[in-house]
Amino acid sequence: MSTTTIHEIEAPDSAAKALLAGQLAADQGHFQPMEDLVGEKMILNMGPSHPATHGVLRVVLEMDGEVISKATPDVGFLHRGDEKIAENMQYNQFVPYTDRLDYLAPLANNVAYALAVEKLMGWELPARGKAIRVLCCEIARISAHLLGLGAFAMDVGAMTVFLYTFTQREYIYNLCEQLTGARFTTSYTRVGGQIRDLPEGFVGALAKFCDQFLPALEEVDKLLTRNKIFLDRCKDVGIISREQAIAWGLSGPNLRGSGVDHDLRKAVPYLDYELYDFEVPVGEHGDSFDRYLVRMEEMRQSVHILRQVIKTLPDGPINVVDAKNRLPGKEKVLMKMEELIHHFILVTEGLDAPAGEVYFAAENPKGELGFYINSRGGGVPYRLKIRSPSFVNLSILPEILPGHLMSDVVAVLGSLDFVMGECDR
């Protein structure tokens, strides 16, 4: 009996209990004094509120001294039921919820979701609309990678880098504000287009940001990339082999860090990504340092893409023209009867989506963000499933953490660069 009590204190909840289950079974419910007291393992509960778990990830660690022998991630603390919520609202109403998936790159989520629904509708945006969306995605990528990089650096102790990256993110938020009116929860896209065209002076501001961003990134690069302490902390830590990365379904920089050249922007080009010249950085060893390098390079490539978009930005309409399914302009609604009726129907019943199912995945900063939509027709999805990259990426933790030291956990978590809002959705 006493065993049970001790273990209950040690592991009062299900996840930690599961870890001890094997041991308990061996004890068969009877108290047996530990023969080898030196070998006693400690259960360390990391999170859900812990400085290194970036939100509410919980990892139950079984430690042998400072060495981890077992790691069990426990997710779901930020579960809001987004997928269920989606079943009860029209397609366009769900856009603000996508802001809150990967809340470090809301623009990219908006775009990915809009593209998924547009795939269902069979729409293709005009060239300018696509270019604007590319701008959104790449701005979001820089913003998300900056935070991932800063948080990673902070986890291994380099606090200053974190604040340098935040200075840059501040500029990005200013751009977002200019573009969408909101700094954080952008909700910029609608099914079939954007809510508004690029504001006046936005392109100039963006070009200016690009010009000052690269030197700032170099500064961070100088602080970290050849820093002996940083190298010691990241090299050969959290190695994910090519095969493992594929087997565990990783995506994004984590997959590419392991040497798999797979980027949806190249593999399944959407938004005319094939028009832009950019490289997909690929790692070699699959350790934390490679993932860090991949992110650094991706930011540079994003700037490269942004500059191309700025240069080749086409004129013309930004939205799909489909009177039955796109809200008409306000000036028409107020002046013409047909448009007024369309407006009324669209707002009350939503767009008229065909029945069927689609899956669309976009290369988001964290990896492959996929939306699976099962439609039975009408303005509301029957089922909407979000394939969130953070969730899948985190699943590899039990595989790579054992054998590492306690301090490596933060380096691995930082380099996996996850967002719990997206993971728990």
Binding site: N45, V156, G157, T160, R233, M406, S407
Partner: protein
Amino acid sequence: MDFIALAISAVKIVGLVFLVIMPMVAYAVWAERRVSALIQDRVGPNRVGFQGLLQPVADGLKFILKEDFTPKNVRTGYYWLAPALTMVPALLTCAVLPFGSQLFGEPMVIANLNAGPLFIFAIASLSVYGIVLAGWASNSKYPFLGGVRSTSQMISYEISLGLSIIPVLMILGDLNLGRMVQDQSVNGWLMLPLWGDRFSLKGLLLLVPVVISFVVFTVSMFAETNRLPFDLPECETELVAGYHTEYSSMKFALFFLGEYAAMIIGSGLAVTLFFGGWSLPFGWLSWDGKADLPWWQGLIHMATFFGKVVVFILFFIWVRWSLPRFRFDQLMRLGLVFFFEIAVINIILTAGIMMLVK
């Protein structure tokens, strides 16, 4: 016992600890926040008083007014003892530091011991108990890990810390910190042998081991004071707050102040050993300890000492906000394999130079 001597000693203790060290600790915290803000393109605390200069007062008030919470399952006695054990050694060590030359005929050191460095190491090594006890008595896993880490870290780095100053003792041939400074004042600082006897082939050759020993000493000092990149006992992102996770209010403040006090004393020791303590460079206003000094010269010497200490503290801060943190095993390897060996080889090198070069 001479009553007047006792009174003077008491004045010196109270004056140094409460008028100099404690305000310096408080303003080291302020400087840390302002300088880190400067490094990170931020502003830092600048609201309380001119340029935030009253911030330490506000911080202190806040600490005093916070609830002093003792968690349920702690070992109360040790839990209460631990903060004191961190603070006391840090303050005790300042007893032998010569913080000035002479003022009104009184030597500006609390205890003019003939074994200054030994006293400092003996007392400073006690400070590990505060951290270990805090980690252990808290009855919590993160503080426990922090405590365990700090035990091995501080004990290992004490070895290289002790070995690193042996070349200095060999060159100066004295264990009295006051006389060590007087020697450097007349004959040139160990790290700047550009005047006096040390401005010679031997003195310049000896600069090599002195620089090595200074580097080892400084790094070990960082480790001893648990400052980044060696702040593993508390390392924020892994162990939440390490050994003082469970502490609040003034008890937490004592840990905090103890860390800064240790940093100031460490800076003072480095200044005394390598940069001529209170002496000015190039033999200006030098003093060999024989004649009485005018009071203004004594004040200048004191100001010089604390000026040098401030520079060192700024260096501490600069390093802290520039570097990432070591991992525990890397830190131990660095301390026990790398610095230990360097320190030993350095002793032999010093001896060789002193033997061969006349």
